[in-house]
Every structure is written in structure tokens, then in C-alpha cells.
Symmetry: C2
């Protein structure tokens, strides 16, 4: 298929929102320890009210890293259709204390329902600060569609 | 398709090597800045003589992070078929100074040939230290197939 050329920003935003709204999708979540050790795991994605919502075990390196520094870089989609999000952790809530509506929305999108899986879990809510969207190298220019938490398109 | 149950370690190693040998595959490469800012980008994979080989622009955050701390966590494959590698940077070489055999092998596997793409590029060679391989949650036990640079299976 011939490359149709770079997408305009508005289309990249729409395409990114479609990827973030995909059901049963995992994202790659990168965090770092206080001394700069990179960590990376796949987690089931919730995208709810323009927030990234993840649910995981509080004993994981991801949660430990976020407690020390509330920053993650999250990759959705997959090469060559890439959505990369620099995100700030807004809240960590024990599953039992999380808002029922949030858990309902998460379970509807993710490929599992943490309310029935049992075990010790926390809900992580992240605000996107920067979002970059590109496919081929001709889309590297103009790849930033959100900066400082505001859509540019 | 019914889950056939967890794969034995030897099969996980074979499956991981098949994923790492895939042509035209990208990997997700997580690094961290010295003050603990996570970074994550997709790069074209070379898997040559049990080393991860990547080629990128020396002005990127990935290279800057690696110069400060020679550690990356690299994800190959995609959920639910995951290969996660904690890797140590062994060498950074300017493209012009890299071994011709290495560049030939890289170009044969990756989806581009850095020798013809032009621009300022460096070749990054990483030794895997730990490799984890799993699909479903029933494979989380036994997911480590390499530790301290040695295959366990």
C-alpha cells in the first residue's frame, strides 16, 4: 500500500483516541526507579474521561517507582501505528475504595474485571501531559498532538 | 482457542528466539534519565549473536540516557506474547566505524538499512542479562528463562 503521506493533526488526534478506546488492549508502561533503572510492563488499558486507568498489584516495581516519582511513559497501539503518552500519576486508590463508575468503565474496556479477579490491587489514574502520534518517518514532524496537558489540534 | 496451559521453559526459550529473530520487527526500548524520568521509543530490532542491536540518532534521549546509565528494558513481541529483556549496553559505535558484518546482519533483519539512510547514527549493542517470556497469567510462574546473562533452560 502506498504511503498516503502524513496525516493532519486533527486526524492523528482522532486516530489516537480510537486506539486509546480499543477494547481489550494492553499498553506498555515505562517507569523508572529513583536511581534510574528503567522498568517496562504490559498492562490492560482503560481510557476513561481522557485519563489512562490501569489496575495492578501494589507490590510491583511499577507502583513502587510511581510512588517515588509519579511519571510514566505509556505506549498504545503498536509499530508502525504509535501513540506515546507522557503521563502524570494523579491518584492511586485501593480497588475497594475506587469509584464504582470508574471500575465499571474499566471492566467494560479492559480484558479483565479486577472486581472479580481477587487479590491485592490498586487503581492508577494518570493525566496525559504530552501525546505523540506517528506512523512512518514522514510523520515525525507534527507528531505532538498534546502538550502540557492541552490538545494542540 | 483453549489455553493449552503453560509452556515448558525450553519451549519458551525457543519461542523467544523466534520472536527475536523476526524480520522487520520493532521493539520497545525503555531507558531512564539520571533523575528518573522514564523514556520509551520503538526501534527496529537486530538480534545478532545473542545481542540486541539497535541503530539510532546519537542526539536522542535514548542515547543520552544510555550514556549516563547503560541499562535498557526492551520488549519484543506484543501482548499477549511477551518477551521482556533487561539489557546492558556493551558498545556504542558510530555507524561509519561499526563492523561491516554487523551492519550487514542488521540490515538483513531490520526494516531499514542504516548504511543507505544517511544522517548521524550510532550502533548500540546490548547484552541481555535477564529474559522473561510469558503469554497468559498462568505463565507468570517460570517466566524467567535467562538470569545474570545465562540461559536457565
Amino acid at each position: 500500500v502506498a504511503n498516503p503521506g502524513p496525516r493532519p493533526g486533527e486526524q492523528r488526534k482522532d486516530d489516537a483516541l480510537a486506539i486509546l478506546g480499543t477494547r481489550h488492549a494492553d499498553v506498555w508502561v515505562a517507569t523508572a526507579s529513583p536511581d534510574g533503572e528503567p522498568y517496562l510492563v504490559p498492562l490492560s488499558l482503560g481510557w476513561i474521561d481522557e485519563r489512562i486507568v490501569l489496575v495492578t498489584d501494589p507490590a510491583t516495581a511499577t507502583v513502587r517507582n510511581l510512588e517515588a516519582r509519579p511519571r510514566a511513559r505509556v505506549a498504545a497501539g503498536g509499530p508502525p501505528d504509535v501513540v506515546l503518552i507522557d503521563a502524570r500519576l494523579e491518584a492511586v486508590t485501593r480497588l475497594e475504595a475506587a469509584a464504582p463508575d470508574l471500575l465499571e468503565a474499566y471492566a467494560a474496556q479492559a480484558d479483565w474485571d479486577p472486581r472479580v479477579s481477587g487479590g491485592d490491587l490498586v487503581v492508577l489514574v494518570f493525566a496525559p501531559r504530552r501525546i505523540q502520534v506517528w506512523r512512518e518517518s514522514d510523520e515525525l514532524a507534527g507528531r505532538t498532538v498534546m502538550r502540557d496537558g492541552r490538545w494542540l489540534v
